[in-house]
């Protein structure tokens, strides 16, 4: 009962302060708006991109009917035809010259003995000569890789199952016009990418949830500085009840903040948060737990509150940076380091929820976050036992 008294008093105290209200509920929405607009160019999936057709030269070896594993049917399929215009090339040198002059965008050189190699069950490889346009190179590479993968698959089937069973498979490959190399989907709904607003809504949500630890630190410290903890210490309530009541009170306000961010961004900016509110809530609760434990541990073990706040702020900013919270950082080392942060697991979890990924994939991130939260909870409990929450 006394724990509830502390908890509700804490909530009332926070809600009464106008500055706190502005920082808690208005600032995140404003920040998401600014970042979402300013950095939307970083994300190429904010809007559908219209791809220009790539002109591709196919250089076949002389005297071989290479690539006749349904290649023509593949290239003639409407989906491929809309993005690739295939031309026959004379030689590698000519193709290189055409690429330099900009006459073509991409060239494919089919090596000699390709057909024989494929028939013998050797892996099929083609040589790609890239052009100047990165996006067109990417589209062409993906298209021909997909074709070769299919050829390799059919040949592997023929070797393993025998030619008579492989024929239907080959026939299937030849009818690849119906095969879904390209799937049309709407972004943000069952898509495989997210918008800048979605990304920053998720990353700012996590960052603000992490800052809730500072809020509880501030509250715990204000009781000491305002001497009210001294009075509370003389009352029939244990320091642990005060401590836990304050953490719970701040956690509830923080979860309210999360709800405002989620519903606010959804309503104001049209951010899609996916169809798994339960998973989203679980991630928010776990991030709040991590935040509270991180902050109180640092606070309990620090000599001064100023030092504790500086350390916690540094950790939050560092974790947000490493996990790409300000801008995705495609550097291997940083991505590896980010796996040790709370933000990484929370952000990736939320992004998967937004993209309606498989529950097992989302649960993996929630599990990892739970492990981090569990470890921090343990450290927090040990720190409390060691330092306690005392009036001086």
């Amino acid at each position: 009962m006394k724990l509830w008294t502390i908890l509700w008093f804490e909530i009332r105290k926070l809600i009464r302060a106008r500055v706190v209200l502005l920082n808690l509920f208005l600032l995140p929405l404003l920040l998401i708006f600014i970042l979402g607009n300013a950095l939307s160019a970083v994300f190429d999936s904010g809007e559908d991109i219209k791809l220009d057709k790539s002109i591709v030269t196919l250089v076949k070896p002389a005297g071989e009917a290479a690539g006749d594993f349904g290649l023509q049917e593949f290239l003639d399929s409407p989906e491929i035809k809309s993005s690739i215009e295939a031309r026959s090339g004379v030689s590698r040198e000519q193709a290189e010259a055409d690429l330099r002059s900009g006459e073509i965008d991409f060239a494919v050189v089919i090596p000699e003995g390709f057909e024989a190699n494929v028939n013998m069950g050797q892996p099929a490889h083609w040589e790609y000569i890239l052009g100047k346009d990165h996006l067109k190179n990417h589209v062409a590479t993906m298209t021909f890789d997909a074709y070769l993968d299919e050829v390799n698959r059919i040949q592997a089937s023929a070797i393993v199952l025998g030619p008579e069973k492989a024929i239907p498979a080959q026939a299937g490959a030849e009818n690849n016009a119906a095969f879904s190399y390209v799937e049309n989907a709407s972004l943000n709904e069952k898509g495989d990418s997210y918008s800048a607003f979605q990304y920053y809504a998720a990353s700012m949500l996590i960052m603000f949830l992490l800052y809730s630890g500072l809020m509880v630190n501030e509250s715990l410290n204000s009781e000491i500085e305002g001497k009210t903890l001294y009075r509370l210490g003389s009352m029939p309530i244990s320091p642990l009840q005060i401590f836990v009541g304050k953490i719970f009170g701040n956690s509830i306000v923080t979860l309210l903040q999360a709800a405002v961010i989620i519903f606010g961004t959804s309503w104001l900016y049209g951010v899609k948060w996916g169809a798994h509110p339960g998973y989203l809530l679980a991630i928010c609760v776990l991030v709040v737990l991590c935040s509270m434990m991180l902050a109180v541990t640092v606070s309990l073990l620090s000599k001064s509150q100023t030092t504790a706040n500086a350390i916690v702020q540094f950790i939050i900013i560092l974790m947000t940076f490493l996990s790409g919270g300000f801008q995705p950082i495609p550097v291997d080392l940083i991505q590896k380091l980010s796996e040790g942060t709370v933000n990484h697991w929370a952000l990736q979890g939320i992004l998967r929820i937004m993209l309606d990924a498989a529950p097992s994939e989302i649960l993996h991130h929630i599990l990892m976050l739970s492990i981090v939260g569990g470890v921090l909870l343990l450290i927090g409990m040990i720190s409390y036992r060691k330092a306690g929450y005392q009036y001086e």
Partner: protein, 311 residues
């Protein structure tokens, strides 16, 4: 019956002995004064009574309950008025009192009544909706008291409750202490202002360096320094010869000089004043004023420790 019993209580901070074999027995229904200079161990003793500090040795019982064994039970019986203001300045006055009341288990109508009663008691009945940060120091001190009495504790501990306030608020607080006592609470009142303790306390313990150096009713304590009347003289022309001759006087125990002010201690000012004035006049000292004071607790403290309470 003793409401508070402290037996051989010891508290150390590192190598420093803050409370040294402290023994106290405070009777139910009395106003008990703890008098001593800053750092004497008064606050440490109080913190141990309310269970804020663990004693290293000894035993404390409040209303027969051991602080060591049932600290929460002890806390229910005590209302502590801390030396420092312990209020939520951004929360309305009534909310402050109600919050602390809830922690004592008060709820609903009873809580509302007690909040109103406590605020009325300290003269803040019509200020319940205001914020403490808008209050003067004296009003905050009064609110500090209201927060400690709303659960009607058996024992009220007031730790220097009049520090830094105006005389009007001080008088209000002292009157409140008397009134609380009349209503049945036992009060422990700590101060280093001898005048306050003299004005309201039934019994006084003088504490120095962590232990009680004297304890009893004010009459009993004054009895111990009955032969220590103080004569204060303001005069010009007081030289070493005058001071020397005064010190030679057989009944003058001490002579202290600071510029034109001289303090002398004698068993009877009535008998010795004539001699003192004669010595001054003999050496052409011009006397501006003479004040004779009966022995006080301050005198006793000076007598016992060689220091004043404000040293």
């Amino acid at each position: 019956m003793a409401l508070v019993e402290m037996k051989d209580v010891i508290k150390r901070y590192g190598d420093k002995l803050s409370v040294d074999h402290l023994n106290l027995s405070i009777e139910e229904g009395e106003i008990f004064g703890l008098l001593g200079p800053n750092g004497a161990g008064k606050s440490t003793a109080i913190n141990m009574i309310v269970g804020l500090l663990r004693m290293d040795q000894g035993e404390i019982r409040v209303d027969g309950i051991s602080v060591k064994e049932q600290v929460l039970e002890v806390k229910r019986r005590i209302g502590l008025v801390p030396q420092d203001l312990a209020l939520y300045e951004g929360m309305p006055v009534a909310d402050n009192v109600a919050f602390f009341g809830k922690l004592y288990g008060l709820r609903g109508r009873q809580l509302k009544e007690r909040v109103a009663e406590s605020l009325a008691f300290v003269g803040l009945a019509d200020r319940g909706k205001e914020l403490p940060k808008t209050f003067s120091g004296g009003m905050k001190r009064r609110l500090n008291i209201a927060c400690a009495i709303m659960h009607r504790p058996k024992l009220i501990i007031m730790d220097e409750p009049t520090v830094g306030i105006d005389p009007q608020s001080r008088n209000h607080i002292l009157e409140s202490v008397r009134e609380l006592n009349r209503l049945g609470s036992t009060v422990i009142y700590t101060s280093h202002y001898m005048e306050e303790v003299s004005a309201i306390c039934d019994r006084v313990a003088i504490v120095d360096q962590g232990h009680v150096i004297a304890c009893g009713t004010q009459g009993e304590l004054r009895e111990r320094v009955a032969d220590e009347e103080k004569i204060k003289i303001k005069a010009t022309g007081i030289n070493d010869q005058v001071i020397g001759e005064l010190r030679m006087h057989p009944r003058i125990s001490r002579v202290m000089q600071e510029g034109n002010d001289v303090e002398l201690y004698t068993p009877s000012s009535q008998n010795d004043l004539q001699d003192i004035l004669y010595i001054c006049a003999k050496h052409d000292a011009i006397i501006h004023s003479v004040v004779c004071e009966q022995p006080t607790l301050e005198t006793l403290f000076l007598n016992l420790t060689g220091r004043t309470l404000r040293d």
